[in-house]
């Protein structure tokens, strides 16, 4: 009995069209992301340029070694001319944009080396810290979510409370407590940076715990929804075990919103790195940024902001790609 041949033909056409579409769609999707990325970089460069001009004080003074350097008027004038600070603001801005396009990020005032070089030396440490923290946050969030969903109402409340508290904990406080406990009292872990994975433990935990709180909140909610959905009932009625239900069905659904959040999470990790790297005396972008701001090192601050903006964009695109892998429905919905 084929009463509605129309619907099947339509479905077939639809699926054929979606296959044809996917190649072209991917190109269009990537090119819009690329345009967005360029826009974000331009906006970041512009905002940084003008925001730094708002800081009181004379940049020429900063170039010559800060307020305490007693630079002569002639030296200040020379510095201004050398760095183009005597030109109208708009020309300075356009000149800076032009130099960025050609890949010239200038020389750091305080470090007296090229900005590219300075950032290159520091970037690795921060990336390792951020990626490790993100991974640990995911593991913690998943563990708490699965435990609290599986183990009844009391566990649910405990899980929820843990997540809210950890999401609310400030990095500097958590870092201090961890140092007091594990370094000063127990002496298990170093309080400052030492080479190798041991030195990474406390900074990573400091960054991962609050993030795990955020991720856990969304994961637990969507895990619970998935476990109560009819398709899980169907799976159980097929004889699927509890572990099978989690692994083959529910966890994938639970991960979807957390994957989307991970792009944002990476951004928050970089800002957290400023605090954590300073407290644990770790070399990295965060600590460099803090010092650059204190010393009004305009080229270095601008360079770091651009690099962080770029990294943030790339991670966002990566999390979108992951989203589409985990949820194939996204690839076929019209954009």
């Amino acid at each position: 009995m084929t009463l509605g041949p129309g619907t099947e033909v339509e479905a077939a056409l639809e699926s054929a069209a979606s296959t044809r579409r996917s190649g072209r769609g991917a190109v269009r999707w990537l090119s819009t992301r690329l345009a967005g990325l360029l826009f974000v970089l331009w906006a970041a460069a512009t905002l940084t340029f003008f925001a730094i001009r708002l800081i009181p004080g004379d940049p020429a003074q900063a170039i010559l070694g800060g307020p305490g350097s007693q630079a002569s008027a002639a030296a200040l004038a020379q510095a201004r001319a050398e760095y183009g600070l005597d030109q109208p603001l708009i020309l300075q801005y356009l000149g800076q944009l032009g130099r960025y396009v050609t890949g010239d990020f200038g020389t750091s005032y305080s470090l007296h080396e090229s900005v590219v070089q300075a950032i290159g030396q520091q970037l690795g440490g921060t990336l390792v810290l951020a990626v490790a923290s993100l991974a640990v946050a995911w593991v913690l969030a998943l563990a708490v979510a699965v435990f609290s969903v599986r183990a009844g109402r009391a566990a649910w409340a405990v899980g929820n409370g843990l997540e809210i508290v950890s999401a609310a904990v400030p990095h500097f406080w958590l870092a201090t407590v961890l140092i007091l406990l594990f370094s000063s009292t127990l002496g298990w872990l170093p309080a400052i940076n030492v080479p190798g994975p041991v030195g990474l433990v406390l900074p990573v935990v400091t960054l991962a715990v609050p993030l795990a709180g955020f991720l856990g909140q969304v994961m637990r909610e969507s895990l619970l929804n998935a476990l109560h959905s009819p398709f899980v009932l169907s799976a159980r009625a097929r004889g699927e075990s509890e572990v099978g239900v989690l692994v083959r069905h529910a966890l994938r659904h639970a991960a979807l919103p957390a994957i989307s959040l991970s792009g944002w999470a990476f951004g928050s990790l970089v800002s957290g790195a400023v605090v954590v790297e300073t407290i644990f005396a770790r070399p990295g972008i965060g600590r460099t940024l803090l010092r650059a701001v204190q010393e009004r090192d305009v080229p270095l601050v601008s360079g770091i902001v651009l690099v962080v903006a770029l990294a943030y964009c790339l991670v966002t695109v990566a999390s979108e790609v992951l989203d589409r892998v985990a949820d194939p429905r996204l690839a076929e919905s019209p954009r």
Binding site: T7, L13, P230, S234, G239, E240, H249, H253, R329
Partner: protein, 565 residues
Amino acid sequence: MSETTSHSAADRASAAAPSPALLTVSGLSVRFGRTAPPVVDDVSFEIRPGECLALVGESGSGKSVTARTLVGLTGGDARVSAESLVFDGAPLLSASAAAWRRIRGARIGFVLQDALVSLDPLRTVGREIDDALRLHTRLGAADRHRRVIDALTDAGVPDPALRAGQRAGQLSGGLRQRALIASAVVLNPSLVIADEPTTALDVGVQQQVLGLLEKLRAGGTGLLLISHDLSLVARVADRVAVMRDGRIVETGATEAVLGDPQQEYTKTLLAAVPWSQARGTRLTVEARAAAETRAVTDRDDAHGSAALEITDVSKAFRTPAGTLQAVRDVSLRLEPGTTLGLVGESGSGKSTTARIALGLLAPDAGQVRLLDQEWAPLPERERRPRRHLLGAVYQDALSSFDPRWSVGGILTDALTGGASRSIRRYEDEVAALLRSVGLNPDLMRRRTHGLSGGQRQRVSIARAIAPGPRVLICDEPVSSLDVSVQAQVLDLLDELQEQRNLSYLFISHDLGVIRHISDRVAVMSEGRIVETGATETVFSDPRHPYTRRLLTAVPHRRDLTPRQS
């Protein structure tokens, strides 16, 4: 209909007697929580191999809980007790978790309604079917794949290799439901439990799914069919058990229970099925007592100008897959004080037509006239002063309400054309409105999410009639309601039409409802009106092949009368 199914119940019972029961349920009770009243209360029945028992009843009667209990998936805090619960000679109540897992999917198949949500939306249907094989057999991947393709083929899925690689969301409703059934029966279970397997499907697709269930039963599978749809039950089931408030109130052979019901509740359920009653008859017993049967003929008169006239309207949508011509050259004429039923399967263009008539969507071509004045295409500015003349009632009443507003707020908003939501100033008017749709005026301070489905639809109707419209467009207004509630709402619409001389454009995929409420019918298929005429003419003497196919797919009243051998 085959030889076997046309036998009388007695014949079948005696033929089946020697085979032992596949499933015996006796004194089954289920409650959630320690003190709550039982959701399933002292339920007993038997199913033999090759036999179909239907559990019927309205939502909340305990049908689905009973079904889930039979596969040990009642829910975490459920308390299940029974005198005996025996499947294939083994007691189920004492089964361990591992024993349950060996039974589920392998020996008892469970089919839920709505395959869109009952299949994992992130996985392909092939993997879903494969799960059962992976869990219960030691077959290798290649063998399992072959069995998956076979199962889809058996379920009547064309092009199974392609379909196995698609997700539920990529399949049409019918294919999806067949894939779901395939995933439940791939291991040839001896008992299949189907919970509302055809709800939300078009009649044609329903027919296909029913055919599939029939085939299983003919192959010796026992079938427990859970449904609120009596017409479906009448066609498939050997025996029927009517459930109400957790108890079985009446049980027996299908012909006996549906042909000659003994219990009041069963009679009410049967009377509420709209196709069993002629136009102008009230469906609920109380309403029938109060209202005289109206003469149908005097409503057929065309007096001069139409209430709503749609002329040569077309509308196309651009989709990623190409242009979709949703509506092609549709012309409809709604006479004042009458109901025009617009019927067709999903995707036939009914709702697009409704949106154009409401002036929510500009047609590509053609025009709409309301009460003999231009209506569409027209700038909204010129339509707005006459908006109150045209009202709308939708299928999903709840999502058409702002959840933060009280019932009174919603109605005041409609009464004043959006000028006020202060219940206090319009209390009397709102109370009168609520009374006119058969609701207690006390409801005005309540919010809509606490109301029952029938109450919500009544509020939605009250909202539609509040500004004093002449024409109402009703888009599937009773499709998600239980039969007895559906009957009350249809009666209400009839009453309001009489009192206020309203004209209805009534859209539904349900031919029984259309037949009951409409004076004239227009049949829509693939964006065109293929047939139009007086209701009884179209139903008794359909001209267009599509209408004929549509009608043969629908159960008739005679299915309920005792079958002749």
